[in-house]
């Protein structure tokens, strides 16, 4: 007879960035408590940004996350430029999109091949998976490398790039510099198609929820740095209105603040939200690839985020290719900026979702006040909600399988706990 399991305990949730814990309590076949604990030590970025100069924000906030530093730099520069009433257009704007494409490719390839795919195929990690699927893992690593090369080419290095500044860049790449990457992107395009084919063939649990999706939406483009903040539940606001519609809540079991709508509702941000709200903004061949992978124009199964990340990888490769083709080196690397008393905000689409920054500056450009809302703090509530729904439907699974599946539910969101603050430790307790 199968032994009755009372509690399942995993000390450290693996294959996520940062550290946290999960506690699921089950009594008589019912889930009675779900807590996604984040107890990574807080680092107080918003506090020590006070007193720093506005020009330092992109370098300092990059250090919130080693996986998506470009996202922090982009949100920081857009918020500062919004405060100081300058706009960065033309080729400088295109180069910002280009470095962001590099980060999306690098981050999505890392998550799809190294962190998420092993769950679907039953491996502890990508290195074990590489014994049976060597070519696939090598392809993933090569794709990730191309993303990193793009970031390095424009940013100077892949982690914490040094070339992004408020107003533009310190130094511009030449057309010839970019041509080197363009050749590699031709290979990357076919690799991204393979990535979509491979992820589409995985087995997905039949799991759906009626999510409130929130993402940027741009009039003509798949969103990176600009647009209005929209939802599938009727929200349509400017970035400046963000704090009127979203709030943060501090709960005891997390050093990361939970983000909710003003009505106290949880919402989801990230690839699924972006895709479902912006399908029509994907390039036609990317739309075709998505449809070919049997994705509809919206996707409400979080396990399928692995396909959507692959679709977005293809989009980023296509976008990067077009930017490089059209690139003409501008005369100036940076627009002129003057400090003044001001307040400004910016929101951009990090690989994991919307990242909001808001700053108040004094007349010398010193930061008086900073607010940063990372994607993972926005997704925490949704992750808990998914577990509330997923666990009761899967109590027939063995102890080990249910534990692994719960981890997978969390990894669906590619949570970046370092970003949101933070230590993951998983316990499923059955009474």
């Amino acid at each position: 007879m199968k032994e009755k399991i009372k509690s399942i305990k995993v000390d450290y949730l693996a294959r996520v960035e940062g550290e946290g814990a999960l506690h699921v309590k089950i009594k008589e076949g019912k889930v009675t408590d779900v807590r996604f604990n984040i107890f990574e030590p807080p680092r107080f970025f918003e506090a020590f940004l006070r007193g720093r100069h506005f020009t330092e924000a992109p370098d300092i906030t990059a250090r919130i996350c080693g996986i998506c530093p470009v996202a922090y730099q982009m949100s920081a520069v857009h918020a500062m430029e919004n405060a100081l009433s300058v706009s960065v257009d033309g080729q400088l704007r295109a180069l910002r999109r280009l470095i962001y494409c590099g980060e999306w490719i690098e981050s999505h390839a890392l998550h799809v091949y190294m962190l998420h795919a092993p769950d679907f195929l039953g491996y502890q990690d990508a290195i074990e998976m590489a014994r049976d699927y060597p070519e696939m893992v090598k392809q993933g690593l090569r794709l990730k490398k191309i993303g990193n090369e793009l970031v390095t080419l424009i940013g100077g290095r892949e982690i914490h790039p040094i070339n992004v500044k408020v107003g533009g860049f310190y130094k511009l790449p030449t057309k010839a510099d970019l041509a080197v990457i363009a050749e590699k992107l031709t290979w990357a395009r076919s690799a991204a198609h393979d990535m979509i084919d491979f992820t589409a063939r995985l087995d997905f649990p039949d799991f759906k929820q009626d999510y409130q999706y929130v993402a940027l939406r741009h009039p003509d483009e798949y969103p990176f740095c600009e647009g209005r903040i929209v939802s599938n539940k009727g929200l349509d606001i400017s970035v400046e209105e963000y704090e009127n519609f979203f709030q943060e809540e501090h709960v005891k079991h997390s050093t990361s603040l939970h983000s909710l709508t003003r009505n106290g509702e949880p919402y989801a941000t990230g690839p699924l939200a972006r895709y479902s709200l912006n399908f029509d903004r994907l390039y036609p061949d990317v739309q075709r690839a998505a449809t070919g992978a049997r994705l509809s124009e919206t996707c409400f199964n979080p396990f399928k985020s692995i396909i959507v990340r692959s679709v977005e990888t293809l989009q980023a490769v296509e976008e990067a290719t077009r930017i490089i083709e059209a690139y003409q080196q501008p005369e100036k690397a940076c627009v002129d900026i003057e400090a003044r008393e001001s307040r400004g905000c910016g929101c951009t689409e990090a690989p994991r979702g919307s990242l909001y920054h808001r700053y108040t500056l004094d007349a010398e450009g010193t930061i008086l006040n900073a607010k940063i809302v990372p994607p993972t703090s926005q997704n925490q509530k949704i992750i808990e909600s998914d577990l509330w729904h997923f666990v009761p439907e899967n109590l027939n699974l063995s102890h080990d399988d249910l534990t692994w599946k719960c981890e997978q539910v969390i990894r669906n969101y590619d949570p970046c706990i370092s970003c949101s603050c933070h230590f993951l430790n998983l316990t499923v307790e059955r009474g």
Binding site: Y12, P42, R52, R63, E128, L141, E158, Y170
Partner: protein, 260 residues
């Protein structure tokens, strides 16, 4: 008989994950490294966790909580050779900016219920708590230096890690001095080599993500920067960033804070 592979463990404290990500960013070398070493504890990459003791431990992040101040001792006891990686682990990191103020005030600025937050007043380097065998600098570390350390370890040799300043790296790279030629303030003369002098090659001054080199003359550099018109407040910020708690930088920034 097949020789047993050495066991590698990767540990995280307060950090951004970027330095341990450097290991996964070794796209060309990762599978070769995994072939030569048993990755026994690397939660960012694997669910499989093997018990210690570990032959080589890489420690990322700084000590900022009472719990972590205890945890590092356990890790030290289970590690034969311990390498700290990155500015957080070697100098307290950017979060050591709290060391210059009252952390309680910080917590109340961010958290509605600061009583939920357990934190130490100071963010400190790993070597302040336990003996460390080797320190790898940088915010982030250089992945080439990381491969060098792992490869040297596997081959029982001393790693080749230059201890000169970023200035030498500029010369090696053929970059014109941004301070001499353009009057751009630069911390290169006092900064430990390792990044390859990226910033000056991109027309900006070094902001010292690798921290102070050995036997450094921060005072002379500060005088030079002042003569170029850098105000004391900017000097404080320059020395007080990703390696603010490194002794030489802490002392230099404190001098200019008094002037401001």
């Amino acid at each position: 008989m097949k020789k047993k592979k050495p066991k590698l463990a990767v540990w995280k404290f307060a950090s951004c994950d970027g330095c341990q990500l450097s290991l996964l960013d070794c796209e060309d070398e990762l599978l070769a490294v995994a072939g030569a070493i048993d990755i026994a504890n690397f939660p960012e990459a694997s669910r499989a966790i093997a018990r210690g003791p570990y032959d080589l431990s890489l420690v990322e992040g700084s000590i900022t909580t009472p719990h972590d101040a205890e945890r590092i001792h356990k890790i030290r006891r289970s590690s034969k050779y311990m390498v700290t990686i990155g500015a957080c682990a070697t100098a307290g990191g950017i979060q050591a900016l709290r060391n210059f103020t009252d952390v309680k005030e910080y917590a109340s600025l961010i958290y509605a219920n600061p009583e939920y937050i357990s934190t130490l007043q100071n963010s400190t380097a790993i070597a302040d708590h336990v003996p460390v065998d080797l320190e790898l600098r940088g915010c982030p570390i250089s992945k080439y230096q990381l491969i060098e350390v792992v490869s040297a370890y596997l081959n029982h040799r001393k790693p080749n890690l230059p201890s000169f300043s970023v200035c030498i790296e500029c010369k090696l790279r053929g970059t014109t001095c941004v301070m001499v030629a353009h009057g751009t303030p630069c911390l290169g003369p006092v900064t430990h080599a390792g990044c390859g002098a990226i910033c000056p090659a991109y027309n900006r001054g070094c902001y010292s993500c690798f921290g102070p080199k050995e036997t450094v003359n921060t005072e002379a550099l500060a005088e030079q920067l002042k003569s170029m018109g850098t105000p004391p407040a900017d000097l404080v910020r320059m020395f007080r960033s990703f390696n603010a708690e490194a002794l030489e930088f802490r002392q230099e920034s404190t001098i200019h804070e008094r002037e401001d």
